[in-house]
């Protein structure tokens, strides 16, 4: 039976992460950082990974991790989404880590679990779990080619690169040319990765590793989207109780109350879908359907929540100074990350036997 609740331990974990992010990732600081040379907050990352050991949640204790599960990771991601924290948690501690769990590279796995090494899967962020991905060429034992849209590559120490021989290769970031892309999502920047005859160490077959990594990424992204949506709803409700026009709180107008109530309903639904996906990833049961359902539902809700937050904040919502735009940009980018809602619905058609004409 799917457990859709949060355990006491999970709630304690949430509180600890939220406290830490309150200290590290306040909105003005995150906004200021986006246009600096260091868009990622490595101090926050160190506190989360090194201090709290959260980078190793998915890794068994025998391999240097915490031996927890996707359920705990999901709670961490909810809080990271709520703070739009610019840390490579989803990309390194979830996606790259899952790829290594599939390929069984214990040494690198242990390094990622410690959080002292940041990994990135060199597959475009837009790639759905059942899509094809770009590869680089393997020529005379070295890797050559260019990959675009690699999330958090700018801060990675090691890249996991799929090559045209079907292998997945670990490549030190120092050996490749990384060029930051001007990214829609300011808090999860992308980069292009260029390999000009770089030697790589084969860690395993790309196919099972990348699929598993992308599926975990897609399923747990729903929890990040829940955090984004919940922030947008909470913040908008708070603001509309305060903001007065026509001599009354704006939140008292029925047209707006109904919109917020609808949004609340969507967030409540998203919480159930995200918990179901996390629980399925943890148990290994019904994973494909649970992940596809969560992603097909989560993306439109997170975007809707951020868009409503912007509109209902009025002119304030359009300013660079107010953090809403960070959430809108994250929500919109997330709606493409690891496959669009449409791509996940298409995948579902086969999984639940509702075939296309």
């Amino acid at each position: 039976m799917t457990d859709l609740l949060y355990s006491e331990e999970e709630e304690a974990l949430r509180a600890a992460v939220r406290d830490l992010l309150a200290d590290h990732c306040d909105a003005p600081g995150v906004i200021a950082r986006t246009e600096s040379d260091t868009p990622h907050d490595l101090a926050a990352w160190k506190a989360l990974a090194d201090g709290m050991g959260l980078a190793g949640l998915l890794v068994p204790e025998a391999q240097g991790g915490q031996g927890a599960s996707a359920r705990e990771v999901a709670v961490v991601l909810e809080e990271l989404g709520r703070a739009v924290a610019p840390v490579p948690y989803l990309t390194s501690a979830v996606v790259a880590t899952e790829a290594l769990l599939a390929s069984g590279d214990e040494e690198l796995l242990g390094q990622l679990a410690s959080g002292r090494t940041i990994g990135a899967l060199a597959v475009g962020l837009h790639t759905a779990p059942d899509a094809v991905w770009k590869t680089v060429r393997l020529e005379n034992g070295t890797l050559r080619g260019e990959l675009t849209g690699i999330a958090d590559a700018g801060v990675a120490d090691v890249l996991l690169v799929p090559a045209d021989d079907g292998g997945l290769y670990a490549v030190p970031a120092a050996a490749v040319t990384l060029t930051p892309q001007v990214s829609l999502d300011l808090t999860r920047p992308l980069a292009t990765v260029r390999l000009d005859g770089v030697p790589g160490r084969r860690v395993g077959d790309a196919e099972p590793a990348v699929r598993r990594a992308l599926r975990a990424g897609a399923g747990l992204l729903a929890s990040e989207q829940l955090g984004v949506a919940d922030w947008a709803l909470t913040e908008t409700v708070r603001y509309l109780k305060e903001r007065k026009q026509f001599n009354r709180p704006v939140g008292g107008f029925q047209a707006l109350k109904h919109r917020l109530a609808q949004l609340w309903l969507e967030v409540v639904n998203l919480r159930a879908a995200a918990r179901a996906a996390a629980d399925a990833l943890a148990s290994g049961e019904d994973t494909e359907i649970a992940v596809a359902v969560a992603q097909a539902y989560a993306a439109p809700v997170a975007v809707h929540a951020a868009e409503e937050a912007l509109q209902l904040h009025g002119g304030l919502g359009m300013t660079w100074e107010h953090p809403i735009h960070l959430y809108l940009k994250r929500a919109k980018a997330d709606s493409i990350a690891y496959g669009t809602a449409g791509a996940h619905r298409e995948a579902l058609a086969g999984l639940i036997d509702l075939q296309a004409p």
């Binding site: 859709l4 029925q254 609340w264 998203l270 179901a276 359902v293 619905r345 579902l348 004409p357």
Partner: protein, 393 residues
């Protein structure tokens, strides 16, 4: 004393003393009630044992495994879900003893005389009058949307006893005898062709004061118990995937490839996802209730249920193309049970239109979510301090 093990023991004792195979159905149900296994969270002597509500599942599972008859809860939903909790909370000892047992066994069906033609969403504005005459109240007025009135023995009724005070303060709650000669039940035909509801005309109906529930003038507060329970009646059972309105259309889609188009496919997948997520939300709510964590999710469930039923059944009529142009049967019937997912797509489409009206309109529910869950300011009121008789109507 009322842990799961003890309940299992008592259930087996009941089954041993009254083997379902050789016991009359009503006798068995009565024995179950007397053993305190009807609703274990009710007090001893009233069908329960004062046990946690979540332990009912233990009893139900034992009884189901033994093939014991149930009390057909769908047929007596208004009694179980609305009348009973109100009688339990506000009834006198005599009233509890008289009403709860036959209510639970289904020997006596209950209906609800609340809504009126002039008081729907604004229920507190109701105009049915009850005037005190000696030991009786004499009731005159008209009620509407009354399911089961044609089979009911009793009704829960709210009526106006004081027109000179603001509307919420002048209401009193009664138990009305549906066999009183002044009660006239007329079927109210709906857009589906059938008459699942009734209009009920009350003409000089005499109700003894001993059938009043709660204090005179306190009926609105008493009615809140009834209405709260109407919306919490989500059962203890987990719903399977494709368990609701999405089931029939998914089946049609799989069996009738010739009906498929790309555009319908996109819409179907979107609704399937929404139905599945809604099911997960209901399941999460169920888990919260079992774990004793009060959740707000219930307030939204009916909103989602109504919209999805309407959209899915609407899509199915379209999917059926030429067949969507015909209807199974407009014959006026008076069904005892309503099955939202029963009959043909056309019926489901038309019946689901009621889902966003009955038991609180979606518009009112959105207000409730906005005000009670999100804490947004209440609607400005112009009726609170005005005597009922001076209200606009």
């Amino acid at each position: 004393m009322t842990d799961a093990e003890e309940l299992r023991r008592r259930t087996r004792e009941l089954l041993a003393e009254h083997p379902p195979a050789d016991t009359d159905r009503l006798d068995f149900l009565g024995a179950r009630f007397d053993a305190g296994l009807a609703w274990v969270h009710y007090p001893q002597g009233l069908g329960g044992l004062g046990a946690p509500r979540s332990l009912q599942a233990v009893v139900d599972a034992e009884l189901e495994a033994a093939g014991a008859p149930d009390n057909d809860p769908r047929r007596i939903g208004i009694g179980l879900g609305m009348a009973a909790p109100t009688i339990l909370k506000y009834g006198t000892d005599e009233q509890k003893q008289r009403f709860l047992r036959p209510l639970w066994t289904g020997e006596e069906v209950w209906c609800q005389l609340f809504s009126e033609p002039g008081a729907g969403s604004d229920l507190a504005a109701l105009g049915t009058r009850a005037v005190r005459e000696g030991e009786d109240w004499v009731v005159n007025g008209q009620k509407v949307w009354t399911s089961s009135a044609h089979v009911a023995r009793w009704a829960i009724l709210i009526a106006r006893t004081a027109p000179d005070v603001p509307k919420h303060a002048g209401i009193t709650y009664f138990v009305c005898d549906m066999t009183d000669p002044g009660v006239e039940v007329r079927p109210l035909r709906q857009i589906t062709g059938e008459a699942e509801f009734n209009e009920v005309f009350l003409t000089d109906v005499r109700i003894p004061d001993s059938r009043r529930l709660g204090a005179v003038g306190d009926g609105w507060r008493v009615a809140q118990t009834t209405l709260m329970n109407e919306r919490v009646s989500i059962g203890g059972m987990a719903l399977p995937r494709e368990g609701g309105m999405i089931g029939p259309i998914a089946k049609t889609w799989r069996e009738r490839p010739e009906l498929r188009t790309h555009e319908l496919h996109q819409r179907l997948l979107k609704l399937w996802v929404e139905a599945e997520v809604s099911r997960l939300t209901a399941e999460r709510l169920r888990q919260q209730l079992v774990a004793g964590q009060p959740g707000y999710e219930g307030s939204g469930m009916k909103l989602a249920f109504a919209r999805l039923n309407q959209e899915i059944s609407g899509l199915e009529v379209e999917l059926r193309g030429e067949e969507g142009l015909v209807y199974d049967d407009w014959t006026m019937r008076r069904p005892e049970l309503v099955d939202f997912t029963g009959r043909d797509a056309g019926y489901r489409y038309l019946r689901s239109k009621g889902n966003s009206i009955e038991g609180g309109t979606s518009e009112v529910l959105l207000n409730i979510v906005a005000e009670r869950v999100l804490g947004l300011p209440a609607e400005p009121r112009t009726d609170k301090d005005v005597a009922w008789k001076d209200l606009a109507r």
